[in-house]
């Protein structure tokens, strides 16, 4: 057994990133290092089954009120009413009742939420929330498009999109929900990402993307999303995502019928010069772009 194994919490310190640089470098030289690393990486890919926790909470309430009729937590009919309202009216109901903020093409907007958390909306995005629910209860916002959140510490903060939920306590993260894509990047603290089938917890510098119900993960070092500082950037992103972002930024339409929109792009484009932006993205991908008129472009293979 190697020397490093003798200290009885050495591997624990390594796994949590508490070793000094010196210790790590020495550890990297041992023959088992790669295997230990693969074990941790492999464990990341394993899923813990998820539970419908709202349903479980209802069971707890049922149980409580059955045995002690005096204090039901919330009358049962309230749930029936809430459920039917939600069913009948769906999201439009909430939308009408809520505080809404949205941005147009090429715009960005910084919003101060009721608890002093901050949300920065990217171009052509929308956020809405019901202020009434925030006091002392959970903080929930609905998002269409892309936003960067800086959340103040407090109760659980939840961001919902069509099919995915992100919940956090206090942290900074970016969410992009444009067309069928769901992407979360964690810049600080911990972020939990859930869809119908599974959940993942991200820590600082980790990112996840869900395409067609499968997850892709990667890591990055940026302190804030680049789009808040005048540039959009991508890591192995589907081309369609890049094109949608271009359209929203510059208020143009891009005709994609002649190219493969599933190929991946890594790189960025600037927000203040359309010619430069098109040049950076499409030259790199060997795609030809032609202006049909002032604000529509057609793509073709070179």
């Amino acid at each position: 057994m190697e020397k490093s194994d003798n200290i009885d919490n050495f591997l624990a310190k390594w796994a949590s990133g508490e070793l000094s640089e010196e210790e790590i470098n020495a550890f990297k030289k041992t023959k088992d290092y790669e295997l230990y690393k693969t074990i941790l990486q492999g464990t990341e890919l394993l899923d813990v089954p998820t539970v419908d926790r709202e349903q479980l909470f209802n069971r707890i309430q049922d149980d409580v009120s059955k045995n002690k009729k005096a204090i039901p937590l919330v009358p049962k009919w309230a749930y029936a009413v809430a459920a039917s309202i939600a069913l009948i009216l769906g999201f439009t109901f909430f939308f009408n009742q809520n505080t809404t903020h949205q941005t147009g093409f090429g715009e960005q907007l910084t919003i101060l939420l009721p608890d002093n958390s901050e949300a920065i909306l990217n171009a052509k995005s929308k956020i809405y929330y019901n202020k009434g629910n925030w006091e002392g209860k959970e903080r929930m916002v609905f998002l269409e498009g892309e936003a960067f959140f800086k959340v103040k510490k407090g109760n659980t903060f939840i961001v919902k999109s069509n099919t995915n939920t992100v919940s956090v306590l206090g942290t900074q993260f970016n969410i992009n929900t444009n067309n069928n894509l769901f992407e979360v990047i964690c810049y600080e603290g911990k972020v939990k990402v859930e869809n119908n089938t599974s959940s993942r917890i991200l820590t600082q510098g980790e990112a996840i993307r869900s395409i067609n119900s499968s997850f892709e993960e990667w890591k990055l070092n940026d302190p804030v999303p680049s789009w808040t500082t005048g540039e959009s950037s991508f890591t192995n992103s589907p081309l369609l995502q890049v094109i949608t972002t271009l359209e929203k930024q510059y208020n143009i339409t891009i005709e994609t019928a002649k190219v493969n929109i599933n190929q991946r792009y890594s790189g960025g484009f600037t927000h203040n010069n359309l010619q430069n932006a098109l040049h950076t993205v499409f030259d790199a991908m060997n795609i030809k772009y032609t202006f049909i008129d002032k604000d529509s472009i057609e793509l073709s293979e070179e």
């Binding site: 591997l11 624990a12 230990y36 990341e44 089954p49 002392g136 959970e138 991946r264």
Partner: protein, 172 residues
């Protein structure tokens, strides 16, 4: 602290405690018994008990109360299964798309072995290992959940990794 005495009997506070702690209790029990339905039963039992005792349990103590009740309930329950975490084959790591088919096959085999080795870990090591790696809890938080010292938690984590290396080293 804006509100000095939060009462657990208050519906809002109770729901908040549920939202903040139910998941870690569920997972913690699941890592012990390998059966989510059973973990749900035990979690339900713990919260019902908390509600019944809401006048006696201080808000700050609610979490450790829940943990204790859940662990006791678990000890009284003898249904135990293997803890096999699901391996979602469609989700690859960041660099996955560059890998060759041979690598992916190897990865799949490795993952199956890893699942089995985690299932075969002693329960005390497994719960620490998974709370740390899957729930991303710090060793201090885990110590609080299990009711041990942080040092003991770190030792279990160390042993878990040693054990996994040993088993997987043989398998490869």
């Amino acid at each position: 602290m804006p509100k000095k005495q939060q009462s657990v009997c208050e519906e809002k506070t109770f729901k908040m405690i549920y939202d903040n702690h139910s998941e870690v209790i569920l997972n913690f029990i699941y890592y012990k018994c390998g059966n989510m339905a059973q973990a749900e039963d035990i979690t339900q039992e713990a919260f019902v008990k908390l509600w019944r005792n809401c006048k006696k349990v201080l808000f700050e103590k609610a979490k450790s109360f829940l943990m204790k009740v859940a662990q006791n309930a678990f000890f009284n329950d003898l249904r135990h299964e293997k803890v096999i975490l699901k391996y979602n084959q469609q989700s690859f790591s960041s660099i996955g798309y560059e890998y060759s088919p041979e690598f992916l096959l190897e990865e799949k085999e490795f993952m199956i072995k890893l699942q089995r080795c985690i299932a075969e870990l002693p329960e005390k090591q497994r719960e620490v290992f998974l709370l740390s790696r899957k729930d991303k809890k710090t060793y201090r938080e885990i110590a609080e959940i299990i009711g041990l010292t942080q040092k003991a938690v770190e030792r279990r984590m160390h042993l878990a990794l040693l054990e996994l290396r040993e088993k997987l080293g043989q398998a490869i």
